[in-house]
């Protein structure tokens, strides 16, 4: 072969080293088989490290009324019942064990007075449920898993290596092509099974809490390999991102601020969240400010303040205030935690202790002392509820041998994810995917990878440097895409705008073919961006098409032209698939009927 391509073989290949990938790799290695773990950044830098508020698990350490049933019902209600209920069931049942297991591996969560793992309040969770370490829970989790995995002999880690194509032998996945960022050299991974743990797609939007890594690679790679994607329209806009100064716009302000008593106010000082409480949450929401405060202080008879309603709803209320001209000076609203000094002694110390990284983030980046002043916040693109469609028990996608877990997989969260349910998702389904991928690898022989496939993928990668078809700047194309998606397929959507976006994507696809990278193959972010564009465009198209087809407002998808929920779409998942002719097709797939015992759980919990 003309191209110099190194070949590496493993039983299981895990793509992505966030919480899901690490947990999956650890589990697969428990089967005593060889595991390759690939990530785009250095180990320990994946998105999981940025998670702040906590990991949701019904440990019932703080409120003994909590149980898997309540967690299950909360997750389904938050997801507005289009969730994969099987996943929601496993998740609620297994999360407590997965969290305790972290403690066995060295994690140090904050403690209750009895010395157990402390849990805090978060939006949409009925009881205090989020195990946490101040506001740096993700760091604790990724470091614990990282430190565990580097001592597992079967796991071999490939850092700063990006996968650009999956290969199949017949129907089954058999390998992947990647390049090492350092020298730009290609590597072919052959594996009996592959786990996609590649995270989300926030970089398709201009205002986001996500890093350069989140270009939707996993969705796009799986899609082009023939896997189904599900409910891609559900992109979560977190209600509280920083808005000022512009250079930090989008950076997350954890929901933990509201969990600790922080309140949202408009420019008139009004707590506007009390104005609009959705019907299905009415009997779980505080009647007044006093009750809300008592809830955050652990009063079991009080209901949660409206600031802790689900993210989709809070984000829309903020959007409404801003549009109505009642926002803060820089186009957001006010988030105030400093006010708690009226209620508790030593409030400044308390805030610094409970929210240390928020304190520093605002102090150093925004020049604001949150123990004294109000923050300005507004919605930011945060999380992808949709994803690669998986079987609720095995985590296998519609492509045999290809598994998915974490943010890359779709289904658990339905139309809206509850805070803290992602970290638990990673642990529960990372483990399950690792286990089942190992099983698949043990039960199946290695498949083949066609030389021609490898060659064509490598040639495609190099074409942006060796034989560019134009001189478009890849960064510029990416920026234009981000701005368009933000404007036309954002928090509030309309058919005409989304149809325009589809047409705009067509233009951008053309431009993306003409991008050119400067320089050579050595650690060249411009070249990498050229390749990332394909993934970004693929997923943007999937989000837009699904958004157009779901003609209703549900969870994260709010349609100005269809502001109500529809009974038809209540029972529909939007499935995206690559058609034979290479075009993207959308299939409306009925959701699976809930089994009676789970239905009963939901009914019981609704009381």
């Amino acid at each position: 072969m003309a191209l110099d391509i190194q070949t590496i073989e493993h039983d299981v290949l895990v793509i992505g080293a966030g919480g899901a990938g690490l947990r999956g790799a650890i589990e697969a290695s428990n089967a005593g088989i060889s595991v390759g773990l690939v990530c785009k950044s250095l180990l320990g830098k994946a998105h999981t490290v940025m998670a702040e508020g906590g990991v949701a698990a019904a440990l019932a350490n703080v409120d003994d009324r909590d149980s898997w049933k309540v967690h299950f019902a909360d997750t389904m209600r938050g997801g507005q019942y289009v969730n994969n209920w099987r996943m929601a069931e496993h998740h609620a049942k297994e999360a407590p064990d997965r969290v305790r297991e972290l403690e066995k591996w060295g994690a140090v969560f904050d403690r209750t007075k009895e010395g157990k793992i402390l849990q805090r309040n978060f939006g949409g969770h009925r009881y205090p449920r989020l195990a946490h370490v101040g506001d740096r829970t993700g760091l604790e989790i990724i470091r614990t898993l990282q430190d565990k995995s580097v001592h597992e002999r079967e796991i071999k880690v490939y850092m700063e290596c990006t996968i650009v194509r999956l290969f199949k032998d017949g129907e089954r996945v058999t390998g992947a092509l990647g390049y090492f960022r350092e020298r730009g050299r290609f590597v072919l991974f052959k594996a009996k099974s592959i786990v996609m743990a590649t995270g989300g797609l926030g970089k398709a939007y201009a205002i986001t809490s996500n890093s350069w890594e989140y270009t939707g690679d996993g969705y796009s790679l799986a899609y082009h390999a023939g896997a189904d994607l599900i409910d891609m329209e559900f992109v979560q806009f977190h209600p509280t991102g920083m808005v000022w100064p512009p250079s930090v716009r989008g950076i997350l302000v954890t929901e933990g601020v509201r969990g600790e008593g922080g309140v949202l106010r408009n420019k008139d000082g009004k707590r506007f969240m009390f104005d609009d409480i959705p019907e299905n949450y009415r009997n779980q929401t505080a009647k007044n400010e006093e009750e809300g405060w008592r809830y955050t202080q652990g009063d079991k008879n009080a209901m949660r303040p409206p600031e802790l309603l689900t993210r989709d709803h809070v984000a829309r209320c903020i959007n409404r205030e801003v549009k109505a001209g009642r926002g803060s000076p820089h186009g957001g609203v006010f988030l105030d935690i400093a006010w708690i000094k009226e209620r508790i002694p030593n409030a400044e110390k308390y805030i610094q202790k409970k929210l240390p990284s928020m304190y520093h983030q605002f102090k150093e980046l925004g020049g604001i002392d949150i123990t004294k002043e109000r923050m300005e916040v507004g919605p930011t693109t945060h999380y992808t509820m949709g994803g690669i469609k998986v079987d609720g028990d095995s985590q296998m996608t519609t492509v045999p041998g290809l598994f998915a877990a974490g943010e890359a997989a779709g289904g658990l969260h339905g139309a809206n994810r509850l805070g803290g349910n992602s970290l638990s998702d990673l642990l529960v389904f990372g483990k399950r995917a690792g286990e089942n991928a190992a099983k698949f690898a043990q039960e199946n022989k290695a498949g083949a990878v066609a030389e021609a496939d490898i060659e064509s993928a490598a040639q495609w990668s190099l074409s942006f440097m060796d034989s560019p078809k134009g001189d478009e700047n890849p960064y510029k194309v990416q920026q234009d895409l981000q701005v368009m998606m933000q404007d036309l397929v954002g928090i509030v959507r309309r058919e005409d705008e989304m149809v325009k976006a589809l047409a705009g994507l067509k233009t951008l696809w053309e431009r993306a073919k003409k991008v050119q990278s400067q320089g050579n193959r050595e650690y060249n972010p411009g070249w990498h961006t050229c390749m990332d564009l394909t993934n970004l465009l693929t997923v943007s198209e999937a989000v837009t098409m699904s958004g157009i087809r779901r003609k209703e407002s549900r969870g994260a998808q709010f349609r100005d032209d269809f502001p109500e929920k529809s009974d038809t779409y209540a029972k529909m998942n939007m499935v995206i698939r690559k058609a034979k002719d290479g075009s993207m097709e959308l299939i409306e797939q009925p959701t699976k009927e809930l089994p009676p015992e789970l239905k009963q759980v939901i009914e019981e919990m609704a009381k």
Binding site: V49, M50, G106, M159, K168, L365, T507, E522
Partner: protein, 288 residues
């Protein structure tokens, strides 16, 4: 299969005319005050060598150095290499030396830098890969040598009890974002290149976290004394000064560890006591 797997798209919407979206004008209050252009010297090169190149960037209020680097990348030097992820001081990717000081680029606001040209160079204690990216893989190898956490037996219900005051000490160390700025600044590594025999402040923090963990049962003193080379540290506290997580590396991690090692190796009584009551493993005698 190749064609089938090709990442091209033929959108269904053939009827749509091509469309170009232009951003609407920025909303009032969302544009920062322009502070003019500033000059930068950025080190460009690789393991074989390199030098400074001049760039300029348009600065607005609130911008951090990483924003300027990204602007240079997007407009003047598409292949300029740098690492970053969180842009909020949480991941420890964007370490570099700004005007000679080891810092996180994402947490260094332009307004805090003195007037004049801003110099950005890669961390000096590690081999350059390209531009601002250095080879930090050595750090990952060091960690492998440190014995992992091994907890004592749990309570009857299979879980552990720890009090908040007990965990706070190790939580300080567990804040570490592995930015390796402390490694970069420590003269033992930076000036004397003792990577083979000295683990560096980051890994003393890591060891301290394990050693002081209320549940841990392993003794890492032999490692600290021998492979870790804690004796090379002469308590200059330079590492503490650069730590973006404000971990008191020297006072809270290194000094207590040094004391333990000294006790164990030079005080036979302490050693016997440790062996009998605290941790299982008896330290290996230093080789002559």
């Amino acid at each position: 299969m190749a064609a089938d797997n090709e990442p091209t798209s033929r959108p269904n919407n053939e009827v749509q005319p091509p469309f170009v979206h232009t951003a609407s004008a920025p909303k009032p209050g969302t544009v920062a005050e322009a502070l003019g252009r500033r000059d930068f010297k950025v080190w460009r090169g690789n393991a074989l060598g390199g030098g400074y190149k001049d760039y300029t960037a348009e600065i607005s209020a609130g911008m951090v150095v990483l924003d300027a680097v990204h602007q240079i990348q997007a407009t003047q030097a598409g292949d300029l290499a740098c690492r970053w992820n969180c842009k909020a001081g949480k991941c420890g990717s964007c370490s570099a030396e700004i005007n000679g000081k080891p810092r996180l680029m994402c947490m260094t606001r332009m307004e805090t830098l003195p007037e004049g040209t801003v110099t950005i160079q890669p961390m000096k204690a590690f081999k350059p890969i390209k531009d601002l990216v250095t080879d930090v893989s050595w750090n990952y190898e060091v960690k492998k040598k440190i014995a992992p956490f091994k907890p004592k037996a749990p309570e009857a219900d299979g879980t552990w009890r720890m009090q908040q005051f007990e965990v706070e000490r190790v939580q300080e160390f567990r804040k570490c974002i592995e930015c390796f700025l402390c490694q970069d600044t420590c003269h033992v590594l930076r000036d004397h290149g003792k990577h083979e025999v000295f683990a560096g402040p980051r890994f003393f923090v890591h060891a301290a976290q394990l050693e002081m963990h209320p549940l841990d049962t392993v003794n890492r003193e032999p490692f600290l004394k021998h492979d870790g080379g804690i004796g090379f540290c002469n308590i200059t506290k330079c590492c503490t000064e650069v730590c973006p997580e404000h971990i008191k590396i020297t006072d809270n991690a290194i000094i207590p560890l040094k004391e333990r090692v000294a006790d164990t190796y030079y005080d036979p009584l302490v050693r016997l006591w440790r062996w009998a009551f605290k941790k299982g493993e008896q330290p290996v005698e230093p080789k002559a």
